[in-house]
Amino acid sequence: MMFQSWLFLPFFLIFFLVYLLVQKTSARNLWLLISSYIFYGWWNPLFLILIGYATVVDYFLAWLMEKGEKRKLWLSLSIINDLGLLAFFKYAGFMTENINALLDRLGSSFSLDMPSILLPVGISFYIFKSVAYMIDCYRGTVTREKNFINYAAFVSFFPLLVAGPIERAANLLGQLRQRRTVAGQDVADGLSLFVVGLFKKVAIADLLSVYVDKVYGVPSEYEAPALMLATFAFAWQIYFDFSGYSDMARGIARMCGFKIMLNFNHPYLATGLRDFWARWHISLSTWFRDYLYIPLGGNRKGRFNTYINMFITMVVSGFWHGAAWTFVIWGALHGLGMGLTREMERSKFYQQKIPKFAKQMFIFVFVCFAWIFFRASTWDDARLIVGRIFTSGLADPKFPLYFLPLILSVWLYQFMYESRLQAILKVSAVRVGLVILMILYLSIFVSSGVQAFIYNQF
């Protein structure tokens, strides 16, 4: 069940009514846990075995760590277990495929059978959440959660379960430990976040996906204008899809009184690649910063090592997104880009002389170029698209004009929000008017079909 599906409505209503009844009691987190397992099990009951197993193992290993002896061993086992699960479910097919390709190249007739493994929804997210918790416990930045129900509720917290944000234990567990009543403003805030997220996902992302899927489905049939427009459209699609989901997730959590971290902050207004990654999928980028980049040495071991560490972090980040070389290339492009632009972005000339709009456009174009590799079905498709963008003709892209007002109005809103005109957007009548328009648009123009979130596949 997805947040934007009608089925979620009765689920949430029942969950919320009971939640309000038990919110001040010790049953609150138990009810959260039960509901989260129902929510997750709705996708596939088998998924519950995996999340249950990961939860129990980490709970037990954290307990062992707390005892004081062999802490590094328990932590290592936890990480091996968690990442091993991820590797198995997510990358077994990829590894097998590449081993077979290598064997074939070496002239061997032997090949491994391709495994047929169901990828559990959200595994990348809750595994990373668990790993972060274990490392934080090891570092002492978080105290181990003694109450198993609390811990299990933290891991499986349904608003964040299938596509994040990858919330840190310090924030979420801390709130799970407190007992607070849901205030009226929590519900109001949650609804605000949810409606905006729903609009982003259903009204914009799903709309753009129609064109993107058409072009990227058979890129050889399209020329430069269509391929470029589809790439730009994908840039907006993935942003609205994922940030829309994050908003809905945060909104649902907020309605229950939980404050979850911001995951997107107008990334296409970034003036540099570092700025971009400080605005895009913030929970993941900060995860990689804290648990990979900094442990590798961060920027503490000289310039060359800094670039290497950045590159490795971005490549791994790309690989996290999917079991395909195109994701690795996407990550590598960003790593390379960050390395190449790091000094430039720090220079006074870049900061003071280059107009802000020019910087934003430069970064946006670079990010869009990288998205080609993210979205293309195969490496060959990605090369074809890049090649045809620069060499093919100017055939009519048949890009629906209907899409333009929507995208432009949202972009305009973002610009206004980051400018002095923000005050206009805060006027009550404007806010209420926008929400009414969004609700009406969703009710009138949107198909009742439900499309999955892009990040569900990660």
Partner: protein, 391 residues
Amino acid sequence: MGDAATQQEVIKSRTASSGKDKQEIPFSSNAIRLSLREWAVTAVIVAVLFVWIPRGWQRIESFGPDPKSPRTTNVNHEESSYRIPYELGYDYWLYERYCNDEAAKDKIYVIGDSVIWGQYVRKGQTLPAFLNQLSGKARYANMGVDGSHPVALEGMIRYYSTAIKNKDVVLLLNPLWMSSLKADLQTTKEYRFNHPRLVPQFYPIIPCYAETPSKKISIALEHRIPLFNWSNHIQVAYFENSDIPTWSIEHPYANFLKNITLQIPDPDNKLLHEPMSWIERGLTAQNMEWVDLATSLQWNAFQRLVKVLRQRGNRLFVIVGPFNEYMLLENSRELYRQMKDDIAKWLRQQNITSYIPEPLPSELYADASHPGVEGYQRIAEDLFRQEAFPK
């Protein structure tokens, strides 16, 4: 991992990004944040718009027979022959509007499937059209909708025909819908039947209906929320039964607003099929399974439909058939006649006036359940001779 420098770096990086030791979590990256009071205002405005928009739309969109069209004899031809345009059969908002309009004119509703609508005849040759001619005035409203089997018809009447109350209603039961497990919607293998958005979404369970729970909830809400139903009308009437985004992919440079002409097309006078008898059409006699009435989904739905209409104070006249018995092999024909008797018995027990037309001459049938022009004419004349028939 674990060394003090790394830990310090992590803490420093987190603190640096927030500026505080205990981070204040930003609400959002946009200004859309309403207070509880503002949400209350929003909810009221949205609720009003949800009701008002469809109602206001009716005032600006023209629909229905032109009252100024030429008259043949004493009857306004357009009005007496009007039927919902074929391509708008899935537009239930329009059907509801049609019902409301006809209620204001104190018409007799003639309700049924394509047999009433007139599958093989022009709009002036349907059963209601002939009844109007016999009546000398546009007294009978053709409420037929192609493919509206009893399970769907129940939904149509329940949700979209609330204006039909305290009226005379002629209701047709087409036995063809009980002629097999598939027609009766009892097969377990999923198949796409007519008007899935009208059938009960949750109970009774329809074995061959495999829509997702989410979609079923959406449909159930559409039954009750006027704006959703109206939104569907816009799609069906102006965008080839497609949502606007999908339509715009097929028409990328079209201004979608131009499609909204505010004018529902009149039903055309074209024939959907060549007028010929079932034999000329190449159909042959066959064995039909005829389901058991006790377990028939269609028959049970018809019974509920009758109940709904009567609860609204309507006076019913039920027509069973006409059915082309010549298309049945002997065993099947016996079963059919038994079923017909059971139906007639039930109607008598319910004190419902009914009429089961005698079989027409074979050549007057276009297929298993639809007469041709002359067949409709004869049935209309027979009905008009019935004393109990509403006139």
